[in-house]
């Protein structure tokens, strides 16, 4: 970087690097802070579920890079597991790479029209790139999912703009499948593209030996981050946990708004604090940490909107047991999906043994021997003992379907500060509160039944529903949401905070709602690209 920063980006996850790259390419000096470490995929990604993904001491946990130290804790109310990753790449390090657009209808009441977002979708899709899985390239689990969809009357679509019920081979931010012949080493440059290893929760290092630009899953650590750094105008500081946004109170001529002037952070390795000043700050630390940082900084929040309207897609899982090999450990984790605007989405979900065991037996609500009444699944909830052990031996014949609900935004679902807990080394810790509305629960149940219908049509002999008793948070959205009315939103359509000049939002907290149910990362990235444009268009300070 050639001088003091013009812009400080807090967080190098799904959205922050998009802002950084778009600005740095145009000569803006960007300082990007990331709370976690900067991994080397070839060196650090072992493909092992506990080593990589343990919430306590896995590399991809929410915690400091030194795994001998405790993870960073949140207080949870109505929330079970929160799956976020600290590290350059953020939660894209473990995401499936699934990159659908929002359902257009979901933006009807938002300040941004879907049509206005399309050019930014195209920009991100072109860069990553995002590609639809080719016909003939489906893994067995996904072919089975597609078969089930066809049998219940869903037709296949290749469109990215979904307005009716369809199934689709997935649009993923994953390079095309490698053309592999038996005996060819699965290393670069002998193979290029995705090798169907089935491990994304544990990170994608494939093809082994490939430069970051040719790693198959286009997490931001191998796409937007290196592109930003290559401009020479972006400095990335890992292990840097932002603890305060520095700002000046409202002054004459600012329309009653405070004005941002920099960021203070703590080095998670040394414990030292540092500060940098800049006229623009972009919050991109995720929908829990961004509002936490806002509140810990004492930034204006006169309408008490910050942290509210959390949506999560109220996720659940239904799993089919088949009399044939399915192999949930083979393929891109998700290569097929079904779309139900107005309800949400379903997609095939490959998993390793730990994840499947937990979903089938360790995490649900109720017990396997509970009667299921008229529901289309045969058993639900959790179990243990010899019967569970024998059932889990059918792992290789299971297909799990993930439910992502179009859950309603509600102001009482929110991130606040846990005032009755002690602070950690970065300040008061977040408290995450979520309870589904009745309509959200109705939609989730409908989707679970639809997922069971697809599995049965595909030939499942038995079906299990996990039925999480508390929300699983992987898609975390809406807590600094976009809107025109400051009484019910935090940022305007250009991504700038209503009450703080120079403060922008570049992560999933800006989403106005749950987008109808589809995976949010592509929309976050499109909005981040748009917000970068708004930053560029600002008058010089």
């Amino acid at each position: 970087m050639g001088g003091p920063p013009d812009v400080i980006v807090v967080g190098a996850g799904g959205g922050g690097p998009v802002v950084a790259k778009e600005l740095a390419e145009r000569g803006v000096q960007v300082l990007m802070l990331e709370a976690g470490p900067w991994f080397d995929p070839d060196r650090d990604f072992t493909l092992l579920e506990d080593d990589m993904f343990s919430i306590v001491d896995g590399r991809f946990r929410w915690g400091p890079g030194d795994r001998t130290r405790a993870p960073w804790i949140r207080r949870r109310d109505g929330v079970g597991l929160i799956l976020q990753t600290a590290g350059v790449g953020g939660t894209t390090l473990h995401y499936n790479g699934i990159s659908p657009r929002a359902y257009p209808h979901a933006l009807d009441d938002s300040p941004l029209a879907y049509a206005d977002l399309v050019p930014y979708y195209e920009q991100v899709e072109d860069f990553l790139p995002v590609r639809q899985v080719d016909e003939g390239d489906l893994a067995p689990k996904d072919a089975l999912f597609g078969l089930g969809c066809e049998k219940i009357g869903l037709s296949h679509s290749e469109s990215k703009d979904v307005t009716s019920q369809v199934w689709r081979r997935a649009h993923n931010a994953i390079l095309p499948l490698a053309r592999m012949t038996p005996g060819t080493p699965l290393t670069f440059p002998e193979v290029e593209g995705c090798t169907m290893c089935g491990k994304r929760l544990q990170g994608c290092p494939h093809p082994a030996g490939a430069p970051v630009e040719r790693k198959a899953k286009r997490a931001t650590n191998v796409s937007y981050v290196p592109a930003a750094v290559a401009t020479g105008n972006c400095q990335v500081v890992p292990n840097a946990y932002a603890t305060a946004v520095l700002f000046d109170p409202p002054a004459q001529g600012d329309g009653g708004r405070a004005r941002v002037r920099g960021v203070r952070w703590r080095d998670t390795v040394s414990g030292d604090t540092a500060e940098a000043e800049a006229p623009v700050v972009v919050l991109a630390a995720g929908a829990i940490e961004s509002p936490r940082l806002w509140m810990n900084s004492g930034l204006p929040n006169s309408d008490d909107v910050v942290g509210r309207y959390l949506t999560t897609h109220l996720q659940d899982v239904v799993t089919g047991f088949f009399d044939r090999e399915v192999h949930p450990d083979v393929g891109q984790v998700t290569m097929a999906r079904a779309d139900f605007p107005g309800w949400g989405t379903l997609f095939s979900q490959g998993n390793g043994p730990q994840a499947v065991a937990i979903l089938l037996a360790g995490a649900g609500s109720g017990f396997w021997d509970d009667p299921t009444g008229d529901e289309p699944w045969d058993f639900a909830g959790r179990w243990w003992g010899p019967e569970a052990v024998r059932k889990l031996r059918e792992y290789h014949r299971t297909l799990s379907v993930l439910v992502c609900t179009d859950d309603e935004e509600h102001p009482d679902n929110r991130v606040t500060l846990a005032d009755d807990w002690g602070a950690d080394e970065h300040g008061p810790v977040p408290k995450v509160t979520y309870r589904p509305t009745a309509r959200s629960k109705e939609r989730q149940d409908w989707l679970a039944r639809k997922g069971a219908e697809i599995l049965r049509a595909a030939g499942a002999r038995e079906i299990h529903r996990t039925n999480f008793p508390r929300a699983l948070l992987t898609h975390i959205m809406g807590t600094l949401r976009m809107g025109r009315d400051p009484a019910t939103s935090v940022a305007g359509p250009d991504g700038q905070a209503h009450q703080v000049a120079g403060l922008f939002v570049g992560d999933s907290s800006i989403l106005p709602n749950g987008l109808g149910g589809p995976n949010p990362t592509l929309t976050v990235q499109a909005l981040a690209a748009r917000t970068a444009q708004a930053i560029l268009a600002r008058p010089p300070s």
Binding site: L138, H206, A363
Partner: protein, 145 residues
Amino acid sequence: MPDDAAMQIVRAAVDAVIPAVDGQPGAADLDVQRHVVEAIDGFLPGFVDLLTTLLDAYAADVRSGASFLELNPDERRGVLRLMSLEENPDMRDVIDGLLVFTYGGMYSEWTGYDRATGALTAPAVWESIGFLGPAKGHPDRREDL
């Protein structure tokens, strides 16, 4: 780390979740209770004591006057069932922690992996469930609709 008496209780609970079946070692045989204790202590500090206390308390509901260690395996599973019905968030965290970390310890690589050296001996359970193991890829496994 908890004392020996507490570890015995956790071991018994882990054995109730995943016992030895059809000649295959159970989770307690593979020391998964150590993983459970380390994980709960790391994620929910202080909750190992809560777990062992609750296991004994609920044991008395299953058989009057009995401790958890005095119960037979089926009775111990009955204790887990009672605990799973509780709505209190801390109770949920305790039972969730026991189950998630027992299944995680048994079905992940934990029983066969040395993080310090990177040496992996594939857990026997992987073969029993048909898991193909961590792999660079699966070139031959496409399928047409």
